[in-house]
């Protein structure tokens, strides 16, 4: 490795680490515990953890098949589809929220249908939070899995087929087990992303304590009134995210190595 890479690498690291240091330096750490145990904060934390868990589950249930289809299908136009799947990664979060609102809002075509036929209103509900989180987090899972599928190739799957296994058996007994490490890292990334979701949530789901106000939204609310408690909550969010990523790190590394 050329030593010169250390210079930009250090700058890159500093760009991520220093802002967090800035947060820590300005915070009265002794007051953090009392600031984060307010009812509003704990409610928001619980809502965040629960919705992020459900979103991650939804990402797995929907994202695994999608990744397999994207990696293995030879249908024309699959490359365009792949680009579309990555869209939530690059969309400004507020735009994502607006898009969901235009689909599922009361005047959105699906939302209108749901309202007329079932009397269901999606915005301003916990379900809306989960949809927004799944929307932004799923690409992380799909990208991890698709990468693993492509770099792994389909040699084992072909061999299984030639030995007489049906497609469904191949998927269950060969494809899925090979995917497990990447699934682990992808799920962790999705969970962390869902936990930090803000823009699409506030636009599409609104902000109400106990129903739609997740921890990032609570940080935003507090920033208007009491910056210190907002910073304390932000630290809590950072700690949770770091713990989640650190706990799953060995798997994540394994996943990228494949």
């Amino acid at each position: 490795m050329p030593w010169v890479l250390w210079v930009p690498a250090t700058l890159a690291l500093a760009l991520v680490v220093l802002p967090v240091v800035g947060l820590l330096v300005r915070t009265d750490l002794r007051r953090v515990p009392e600031l984060i145990v307010s009812d509003a904060a704990l409610t928001a934390l619980r809502l965040s953890l629960e919705t992020a868990a459900v979103s991650t589950l939804a990402c797995i249930v929907l994202g695994v098949p999608l990744a397999v289809v994207l990696a293995r299908s030879t249908v024309r136009g699959i490359r365009v589809l792949r680009a579309v799947v990555l869209l939530p990664l690059v969309l400004p979060p507020v735009v994502g929220g607006l898009a969901l609102l235009y689909l599922l809002g009361r005047k959105g075509f699906l939302g209108y249908l749901l309202g007329v036929t079932a009397g269901v209103q999606v915005p301003f509900t916990t379900a809306a939070v989960i949809i927004a989180q799944t929307f932004v987090a799923m690409p992380f899972l799909v990208v991890s899995l698709e990468g693993a599928l492509r770099s792994g190739g389909d040699r084992y799957e072909q061999i299984a087929s030639t030995l007489g296994a049906r497609p469904w058996t191949v998927f269950r007994r060969v494809t899925l087990p090979l995917l497990l490490p990447a699934l682990g890292s992808g799920a962790v990334l999705s969970f962390a992303r869902a936990l930090g979701e803000f823009g699409a949530t506030i636009t599409f789901a609104g902000s109400y304590e106990g129903v739609t106000r997740t921890l990032p939204l609570e940080v935003y609310v507090q920033a208007e009134a009491d910056v210190e408690s907002a910073v304390a909550l932000a630290l809590l969010l950072i700690v949770v995210a770091v713990v989640v990523i650190a706990v799953a790190r060995p798997r994540a590394l394994e996943g990228t190595a494949r």
Partner: protein, 250 residues
Amino acid sequence: MKKLGALVAAAALMITGCGSSSGGSGSETLTVFAAASLTESFTALKTSFESSHPGTEVKFNFAGSSALVQQLSNGARADVFASADQTNMDKAVQAGVVDGAPSVFATNRLTIAVAPGNPKGITGFADLARGGLTVIVCAPQVPCGSAAEKVERGTGVTLRPASEEQDVKQALNKVQSGDADAGLVYVTDAASAAGKVGQVDFPESAQAVNSYPIAVVKDAPQAGLAKQWVEFVLGEQGRAELQKAGFGAP
């Protein structure tokens, strides 16, 4: 590396508050930090101020009042600060970022924004507590939300909002998009969206009138001009423009 350098320089420029004196030719820039609800009226006032002060350019930073106080107390350079409520101006005074006593130049009160034609037949504040209505208010931490809370306390009507928005425009947007049946917003916001939303005024809004104070920022680079802008806003022309937007007299 060169690109990186440019990026770092751009970031540094942003941090130090770019364009506080946009160079040479004797032109002077007046930087006004103002509450987002003043966007339309202050932008209209800028034109006549600039024409009566040749060589002067007025630049705005419109945002939520508390965000502006944040920026000012973290060292943002500005000449004038206009807040949408007393609370945030008090914060600015306490933080020592404004010079002298602030003066109130306008007032604002709440109204109910509804869909055009008022299809849900909302006639007053108490109607908002009706079941089956999706009602949006502002979070109590922001001025429009604390005003809504005051009205709730005064009337004894407890709302069960679907969402507490972070700023009044978001609340308005949700009524405009049709996702909410009613929203508590300022008269000025409802006026700015006239045609797209209907407006149901209620007498109890008099219980929570917001005042808008304005002050010169401490160590303002253009202290003289800043004083003139404040006087201009407080003066006849300022009052007329603000009244046009729906603001009340101080």
